[in-house]
Subunit: 497 residues, 4 copies
């Protein structure tokens, strides 16, 4: 029988030399694991000697604890009577009693975000809502769609209209997919598997985040026939870890492609997230933390402040990826098609197009405005490619994400040449608002709005959409017109090939 500890006993082990934590009522000695924690030792030391369950649970896949610790690290259980009583947040109580409104009463993405904002914890809200610096890019992502006008054609039979499309050769029910957004269980216990369940109903594709709060196997478990998933990789400094993970992914037949995220080699500065996470920081930081810090590498010290959820997730991520080294390495580790995510210039889109056939597609993305503030929206990059190197569209599938809030936004992106449109926050807000039903409502609204839009444009299928359906005149005046790196790139690659 496992030994039973008093909380005060556990509390003594709060140093790098002896670090215990309580998780799900059990006591673990994580001293040896400190240096291996992908999120860095600092975050564990903050919780050293305490019950870390509430912090740990929503951001770690179930079962991963057992995977990573040796059996003997489990020292015993804690006597629950000796733990301090947790106070419920009183302000939320009245709302919680009410429960969320019926999903069908939510008419648009704003409604859903509003309900989710009330439902989820402050920490979850801060992590989902946050974006870099002044959120200029986050807001521009949405506003830019408002500045594109539609050109409805009339007297066209619009009885039939469907959103069916094909991505990487797979048949899908809509050109809208769920972006690899991390930490779904922060918002709702259904987590990423709940998103998968909703996607199944619509034939929608889902990309699983490298930082999902469930394992890929858990997420795809109840996949429908023909349901399509991708898996997003953040390449680790410790390349072995990534290779192990890729080997595991290669075995999951529902996962059809690998997404390599490039737009966030280092974390952006998400101030809401950092502030949202300060709750725990009000407790005095044990001196252990400070000692440990000095041992961490420079990247993790880029900012001195506590750092939000976003920053913790970056620990261990390799900032040294390159076209020359990383792509060939990745190609040797998987036969799945590779999608490059986070391209923001026509030059990089062009380079990607030179890396077929390994690279099958690119995602124009600024990471939801979470990486570099005042980076351009995907729509800008679409227009840059159209202007400088339209041949890219012939060689690769071009997907976009960021700022989508209306079906008209989806349609506009498609008119500009995107094959698919990703939603990140809307899916998470949907989950936060109503679990699986909330994500379904999100997808339903966007699908309905997209079809209404296509009908009113006089269009039956997504591949009929083109630049003749939109007026981008205002936007054209904002598209990059400076020195293009294209010519020198063309020469370099011509010389190479």
């Amino acid at each position: 029988m496992a030994k039973v500890f008093d909380a005060t006993e556990v509390a003594k082990h709060n140093t790098p030399e002896s670090c215990w934590v309580i998780l799900y009522g059990k006591v673990y000695d994580v001293t040896d694991f400190l240096s291996e924690h992908p999120g860095g030792s600092r975050i564990i030391l903050k919780l050293a000697g305490k019950d870390a369950t509430e912090e740990y649970d929503p951001i770690h896949p179930p079962g991963i604890l057992e995977e990573n610790l040796k059996p003997e690290a489990m020292l015993g259980t804690v006597n629950p009577d000796t733990l301090p009583k947790v106070q419920a947040e009183p302000e939320a109580s009245s709302d919680e009693k009410e429960g969320p409104p019926p999903m069908e009463s939510l008419l648009n993405m704003d409604d859903i975000e509003q309900v989710a904002t009330k439902n989820v914890s402050k920490k979850a809200w801060a992590y989902y809502y946050s974006a870099s610096d002044d959120k200029v890019t986050k807001h521009f992502n949405t506003e830019v769609y408002r500045s594109i006008l539609l050109r409805p054609r009339v007297f066209v039979d619009c009885t039939r209209c469907d959103l069916d499309t094909t991505l990487l050769g797979h048949n899908l029910g809509m050109p809208i997919y769920v972006s690899p957004a991390a930490m779904a269980r922060l918002g709702h216990p259904a987590g990423e598997a709940g998103i998968a369940e909703a996607c199944r109903s619509f034939g929608a594709m889902q990309i699983i985040s490298n930082n999902a709060s469930m394992t890929p196997e858990q997420i795809v478990k109840d996949a429908g026939p023909g349901q399509v998933f991708g898996w997003q990789i953040y390449v680790q400094i410790d390349r072995k870890k990534s290779e192990a993970m890729l080997a595991r992914i290669n075995k999951i037949k529902e996962i059809k492609f690998i997404v390599l995220t490039l737009d966030a080699p280092v974390p952006g500065k998400r101030e809401d997230d950092e502030r949202g996470n300060v709750v725990g920081a009000s407790a005095p930081v044990p001196s252990a933390t400070k000692a440990a810090e000095s041992a961490e590498d420079e990247t993790s010290r880029i900012n001195q402040s506590a750092g939000g959820v976003g920053k913790q997730l970056f620990a261990g991520t390799d900032p040294s990826l390159t076209w020359k080294e990383t792509l060939p390495w990745l190609a040797t580790r998987t036969d799945l098609p590779i999608i490059l995510k986070g391209l923001q210039t026509h030059e990089d889109a062009y380079i990607a197009s030179l890396h077929t056939p390994q690279v099958k597609g690119i995602i124009l993305s600024n990471h939801g405005g979470r990486a570099l503030d005042t980076a351009p929206p995907a729509v800008h990059t679409l227009m840059e490619i159209r202007k400088f190197c339209p041949e890219v569209f012939d060689k690769l599938e071009v997907w976009v994400d960021g700022g989508i809030r209306r079906g008209t936004d989806v349609v506009k992106a498609l008119c500009l040449g995107a094959k698919a449109v990703g939603i990140g926050r809307p899916a998470l807000w949907g989950l936060g608002a109503g679990g699986v039903d909330g994500v379904k409502r999100t997808l339903q609204i966007l699908a309905d709005e997209s079809k209404t839009c296509m009908r009113l444009l006089g269009v039956e299928t997504v591949n009929q959409l083109g630049p003749q359906h939109i007026n981008t005149r205002l936007l054209e005046q904002q598209i990059y017109d400076g020195p293009s790196g294209l010519e020198s790139l063309r020469n370099i690659f011509r010389a190479k090939l």
Copy 2:
């Protein structure tokens, strides 16, 4: 003598198998009529077993009940003492007591809208006010006029100035007409006939909505000599219904032309309207409704939410109209000139110009921002036509609507080539603010403002107005400059003709 029912007895008949409703104190069995209701069965089933008068009355022409039901459907009367007591909305009471202010104290369209907003029911407000999605187009419709500057010429005798004009060969007192706005009796019992009475005083033209809350005959009943009406058709899936209606219209001599609306083959998403209509939705939906839903066709299920007045009106409308099929059909059913409403691109204006002589005019319109959000304002389309195919102005009369709030707006549209300018909401707000006098006040203000504007431009008659009187420089930078469908259209039609 008719049988007298208790309300509780009626209440039992609330299923698709036996559906009774109370209207004007009488009890009707509408079970057989359910499938024929142009607004779909769902809306009736919501009121099944209840007194539906308040919902029914303002949106149905008087007498239409008798026209559509067999005599035996009238089962008897309801014992009024057994009906639940209706509570007056308390908030409105003080305002109601006061009554609306004298119409002459209202100085502009905003004043009138403000008074009407207080006067009319929430449902009416929501139906009139609402527009698609984020109302980007609705607001742009008005703002776009503010971005056009006027160029007043001075030292010109402006003693005389009049608004007289000719539309389709008819002499009219002003180039402002009332657009085919539905459901006038929602706002005021005077309804569309009240609008007609106001128009008579000004020699203004009126287009009768397909969804008017009075019959065309009722509306034109007190027409003055030379008063001009048009009639708007939404072609029904059941083409016979439309043909019967056209036959009836052909007999009304005051109706001089047919307006075929093209900009709304499927309903836009008017969220205010949907929310405004949710009042009744708070009552538990009888299971009958759900059963019935599954039988409805796809179009009516485009959005899962309750749907506002606007969506109900669309039921039965045919989304499959085409240049090739519908125009010839319509031409065989009426000899009246045909006006096509809802054109939003120069390409469609051009095609229309190839369909003379049946087509005598077009109305550039985005349906008051109620169809597709981020569609362009009529002013954009005017400028597109000027830029790509100005010959259209020689072949057709071009009318516009949407966003008119000032006499200067009217004048600017005329300067850009419009022959007439339609007002929808302003007429309805006028009606809501003060009945017939409110509509007169609306027309008076716009007429006065238009004349003041013309005088200050140094212009005596509307046909003197031209592009030299306005500065559209800012706007020109926003007009579509992408691929024009015009060349291929010219080739197609050249080949044909």
Copy 3:
């Protein structure tokens, strides 16, 4: 000894057949004068039978009563005890007790307007503040200056800097003059003579309004040596009245030129003014008013509502002026140079330049945004002239007004070619804020700011200012680029000359 009336006796004479009013304690029979009143009979009939002093006094030059009425019209005096007691406006009392702050504590035009807004009556505020329709032009007048950037040159000796300039050959202390703003005594008893006193201190020019609340003789009475005035004429329908007035003006040696206002042949729609004037309108309008109305000419009935101070002032103004008839007539009635005010297009500026030598200058003005809303600011017209017919600057002096709130605004207008800059509201707000001292403060601030601006631009005298000192790039993109009437004008005038 004059007869003494009870107020109740006077009150009976409130019809067009017998119309008495009380003014300064005396009772007048104005029945015969009704039809001659330049402001129309309606406004008098509203006050028929009552004490009209408060309404009459601030808008009529002292002594004009005696000039216009026969001696026998003065029937006697009123017994003051029989008059109703006037209630002080309670809200204003605390402010009034305090009195206005010291003028030197007011740092800019906004400060001055704010103090004046508190000081003056609601009616005065409404008259001064109001502009047409939505006040788009009024606000644009000011904002347009913000969109012009300055280009300061450095390392230039800026010890000396003065604002001296020459207008029409007269030496003046600054290029800022007071525009012909009407009804100064509404704001402060010092009236237009107070403005003249302030101008004297600065060597600033003043244009006397046709609708001044003091006679020209009263205004120029204490003029300093070399002080320069202009006189503004609104040509009356009854041309004899204008001729008599011109004859009188010709005799006043301080008046050096005549300003003919062209931008307001009919009144704009100033809603604030109309609402501000409704105070009296809450009293029941005697039926007499209605009867009288039907006899008024069409122009004065353009709007049905009560009409503000602005509209009353327009009564009798001739809307039929033309280049061909009016200019020659005016030239025969005065030898003074003629300045044309209210030009808003390059075409009209060009025509004016063909009418030298009678016409010596033009004022680009939109009447402070009070005539036609969405008319262009004077800065636009300056730029239009520079673009289409810069030769105008060589033939005429070009002055501008409208929207000036900062010394930088003054300097920018001069850089664009204006010889002088007029201020209307700022002078009236100054008067309202602190009488003569308030106007001085206004002129002092603008002079100081203008000099600071010139010094920081590296400029010593106003005639050194040019387009190289400003960046109008943003604005250039808004300047009219449509069909210019210039070529046809050039042909017409070439043919003529």
Copy 4:
């Protein structure tokens, strides 16, 4: 032993004929010094007969009193019991008790400004915060950076990234320096020496203001090895004073260059500063002040109002500097490199480039929006130079200041060709928020943000940054396009050389 005075005795000496003040408990007779005071006699006379310590201390370098007054001017001490009791500002007390938050909780410049705003006196806030007129330029300085988009390049190894740079041949830790901002001790007793201490930690350069509240010697006292300072000169009308000061500066080895400020030959109109300084002005101004005023020169009377801290600092500054006279004079007085500050046009940048080798660099600056309102931001001038005379970048170092609030702003300026970026207010707010630690936090945040930005752009060192990393399309449409003075300048200088 020094004589002890009662405050009432001192109070009698409040005229220009006998002017005493109390400073640090001592009584001084400053009658003879009145005419020599660089800030003018007026400001002293306001405090004549009173304890001036609170006003005097934070804006004068310690020890300067003894330097400027003869020993016999110290008459004795004041009996402290006879001085009026000073009341603490009650509102600030609660905040003061709390003390400022930990610096690491401040995440950006706005946070720091907010805390500083609470911490510092109203007078200090007003002096730091204020800018000219309507603060259009101050706000534009920051907004202009938001309108430049970044162009992140991906798949680039961004492990290494540093901010090291070289300015005027000196190695520095970052391209961010502290601008010559005056009166640091107003905000915090650590003053300019505190800023120096913070700069030392980061290898950041500091320019010492001519109006520093500490002597240059005091400021550089604890400089680290290799720490670099510049010294800013405002040339005095009394050139001897400036020569003496330069001689003194030449001896301070840490000072490596002289900055000659050109953008403020006369003070701008900083209304917040003027209002902020009115606190003392509420006391009755002794008649002495008025008498003294009439003797002052015109420049100091440019505005009649009290004038803020900013205006006082200008007293004695020579507005007559010229390329021809001043530069050669300065070159004879120092061998240090000369940097010209305040250039705002490409023409002046070009002229500066013709004055090598004395002139080694220029600072594009509008004085933080404190000189001429609606002057262009430094970014405009950078782009003007790029457009008209890019050769300037080869001949001189171009630095910029104004509006920097984010690391992305720093990076954007560098991309446009700036070698270094100055911060003025951010350093002062940092000092006000937390003394030395506050300035360190300011520099830390900007350094961290700059590095994150560079990494996400795919750039390792500052000299890799170029126009290919930014999209300035929107901005290009605002850059001056009028007549360039360049051609005539080229001719003039060609002729000369």
